[in-house]
Amino acid sequence: MVAPQLNVNFAGVRFKTPVVAASGTFGFGREYGELFDLSRLGGICVKGLTVKERHGNPPPRIAETPMGILNSVGLQNPGADVFIEKELPFLRRYDTTIIANISGNTVEEYCELAEKLSEARVDMLEVNISCPNVKAGGLAFGTTAKSAALVTEAVKKHSSVPVMVKLSPNVTDITEIARAAEGAGADALSLINTLLGMRIDIETRRPVLKNNTGGLSGPAIFPVALRMVWQVSAAVKIPIMGMGGISKAEDAVEMLLAGASLVCVGTALFSDPLAALRITEGIGAYLERKRLDSVSQLTGKVQPYQL
């Protein structure tokens, strides 16, 4: 039998494998690039970019929770210009798909970022309207259908590359936001960003994070992420990049079956820096075992029970 096809055509963009590094957990690839060849990844979502440099929130910025972590980085990044000048050329040396994750305080900032980064020829944009760790922008845009549509529409006008909108799980009905983004022209959706959480140090009576709250990621949130991908995939026609707690190939397969075309791996990299590669291999092995010749044959193939 020929080895199963792992490549995916996602909103017109080619991914060598269905496994992508999640934004914010992978920086701009330099560090993980010292541990393995970045060309082995399907794609890289770079750290969230803003118009101007941001220093982020004060530390501590991370806390451990049962099978999860909380982070409150707060979009620290050198700004889009520095990224384009210093980081993108480095990433371009690798044969992998580069996705720029963008966050604005205003719709105008999103547009400016979209323009700059699509001109710089990243392969795709991921519009972050779901960061729980910044005051202005971020999550605020992601919690109503109206503002999600507004941002999406504006970004689409200013982008020459496909636009993916990253959804927040901190909402009553994620399908409503998903449909709004689709209606406004999004080429794809990514979900989920982190769930807002908190921990308190009972000795000091202080929150563990200096930002008081942070975003919950890791295996703990996997069932929520899977449910949301399943719901959203039934609600929209555009393809989905699924993430949230994926730490092994079996999780990735569940996510694909639930309706994702690609998966992102984030927090799992902290325990195992090679997690994305192991997951890629595991998906291949699963396909072989099931005698399927392409990973795309998994997408959305869960058979729900009729209620």
Partner: protein, 252 residues
């Protein structure tokens, strides 16, 4: 260039009630380790995050890690036995600059071990001030005595060595003009006091900072440490830019 190794535990020696010295065979890490660098260790499937532990010593293809059991992860680590295999990432970060004619090492509590390898690697005259809470918490006294020209011990309760903080002997040595460089590791308030004292004497001071970590390699940006360099504020990262910073760069 960090390596991801499976290292075999060769020895686990009890140093105090809560502190263990683990010797781990990890050739690729041992070969490159510099004083002040650390490793990031997986502590069982229950703990999602790795734990950063300094390299205390290197001999042959093995590194020595001195671990204090405090929470779930270090507790797990301290219970490893010979033949157990550890998933280690390292060596990581920027360590100490051990150059200089007369080096003064200042360590507090579990901040003492990382200074041992610095003492061994430094070329000049080496002195160490090691502070602990109490006598039975003293770590590596013999080892430092072997590696250094002079060793001063302080304890908070005076049960051994001089009573009080490391700053008292530090001041005396600085008064004598006995140090060209201070290398410090320990709790943040101690680091700050040591740096401020050294800077009063115009002696450059390197400090090894602690911060909670995710990736350990500089990608996730969680282990932030604010610095002021050439008048400009920067957000640096303990795992990659540190753990060792110049005292005057740290925004205390």
């Amino acid at each position: 260039m960090p390596e991801l190794c499976l290292g075999r535990v060769a020895d686990n020696k009890k140093l105090t009630e809560t502190v263990r010295a683990l010797t781990v065979e990890a050739e690729a890490i041992a070969r490159r380790a510099a004083p002040g660098q650390f490793v990031h260790i997986r502590c069982g499937a229950e703990n999602l995050l790795r734990r950063p532990i300094s390299i205390c010593d290197v001999s042959g293809g093995a590194v020595t890690l001195v671990v204090e059991a405090r929470g779930a992860g270090t507790d797990w680590l301290a219970r490893r036995e010979p033949e157990d295999v550890l998933d280690i990432l390292g060596p990581l970060g920027n360590g100490f600059d051990t150059g200089g004619r007369r080096i003064l090492l200042v360590g507090g509590g579990i901040g003492v071990p990382p200074l041992l390898y610095a003492a061994k690697k430094a070329a000049g005259v080496k002195r160490a001030i090691l502070g602990f809470q109490t006598e039975h918490r003293i770590l590596l006294e013999e080892e430092f005595k072997n590696a250094c020209d002079e060793v001063f011990i302080t304890t908070d309760d005076g049960s051994a060595g001089e009573q009080g903080h490391v700053t008292a002997p530090l001041k005396r040595l600085l008064d004598r003009g006995a140090a060209d460089a201070v290398l410090a590791c320990g709790p943040r308030p101690m680091l700050r006091a040591v740096y401020e004292l050294a800077s009063q004497y115009g002696v450059p001071c390197q400090v090894s900072m602690e911060e909670r970590m995710g990736c350990g390699i500089g990608a996730c940006l969680v282990c932030a440490c604010q610095t002021r360099e050439n008048g400009q504020l920067h957000m640096r990262h303990v795992c990659k830019d540190g753990p060792v910073f110049r005292g005057e760069a740290v925004v205390w």
